[in-house]
Symmetry: C2
Subunit: 154 residues, 2 copies
DNA sequence: GTCCTCAGTCCCTTGAGGAGACTTACCGTA
DNA sequence: TACGGTAAGTCTCCTCAAGGGACTGAGGAC
């Protein structure tokens, strides 16, 4: 894992990168979200080394993104499931997926489609302003530092 | 940078991680978005090593996320600005920021506020279904692999 | 007792990250 | 002409993380 820590920056993006921004973490979270819960299933799907997977799962459990849940008493076995915090991180993955569909798909189109259960259609996520409901893009906002923040690096 | 490549996975999340998921990249893009355009400004704000910053900027220019623009002819000097592709990646940063505000802020509250120019209020991004406009959360969708995709790892 | 499953742990090698000195190109000043 | 400053890298060296795959431990089936 990265030697430089981002958690002390006065920035929610940096702090999020600290929690779950290490390159394998979003992919592990994605896999759990899509129904892959066990160690060797994750290892096989991701093509990751056992040592790194062990470390990342331990980290994500420690961060409250995943939790271990027993699925067998005898012999004792466990799997990994998303916490509420982790499921909300998957909302971020929806936004990442939307960008990736637009910019990395090429001629073959998006590799996966998302179906919204409520309306039944294939969909993607768009960002809206929580206040007025209009589409929200990075070009539409100004960033205002909060006063009274300990300004480590920011 | 990570030795394992994610670009061949049939997944837009993995491909996005390949393009801009390396830990420093989102922070570099954030800094450029917030108005920091020059090499030593970026270096100083991020506390990153010169060697790594050079490499990452070159990578992001190659990926079409940033471009170099001359700001002085004599002496020749350039700065880094967002392309359209890069500005849309900042939409992803809005979603990351919303998650970070919720889960990493602690008692001090979010370190930065976003002001939506159109409605003038402090805001954050919420995800909505592009088809029906309802709030969209990861728990509301099913992932459907596209047929005819080259299924590398997926 | 042997072999299997599952979830790690360990060892070794490779390669990336980080600090900071150094380089290059250009310019201003004396 | 010489010197020092600015800006954006490049280079060297050391530290430490990543990755492959063998190995371990616990429990169970036969």
């Amino acid at each position: 894992m990265q030697r430089t820590r981002f958690g002390d920056m006065a920035c929610s993006i940096a702090r999020t990168m600290e929690v779950a921004g290490e390159p394998w973490s979003p992919l592990i979270i994605r896999d759990v979200w899509s129904g892959i819960h066990r160690f060797d299933e994750l290892r096989s799907d991701l093509g990751i080394s056992r040592k790194i997977l062990t470390e990342r799962l331990k980290w994500l459990v420690g961060q409250g993104i995943l939790e271990q849940r027993a699925y067998s008493e005898r012999p004792p076995r466990h799997e990994y499931v998303l916490t509420r915090k982790g499921l909300e991180f998957c909302d971020v993955l929806l936004a990442i997926n939307a960008w990736g569909d637009r910019w990395t798909a090429g001629d073959a189109g998006p590799p996966n489609l998302l179906r919204h259960r409520a309306c039944g259609r294939h969909t993607s996520a768009e960002l809206r302003c929580v206040e007025c409901g209009q589409p929200l893009h990075a070009g539409d906002v100004d960033i205002e530092p909060q006063t009274q923040q300990p300004a480590a690096t920011r």
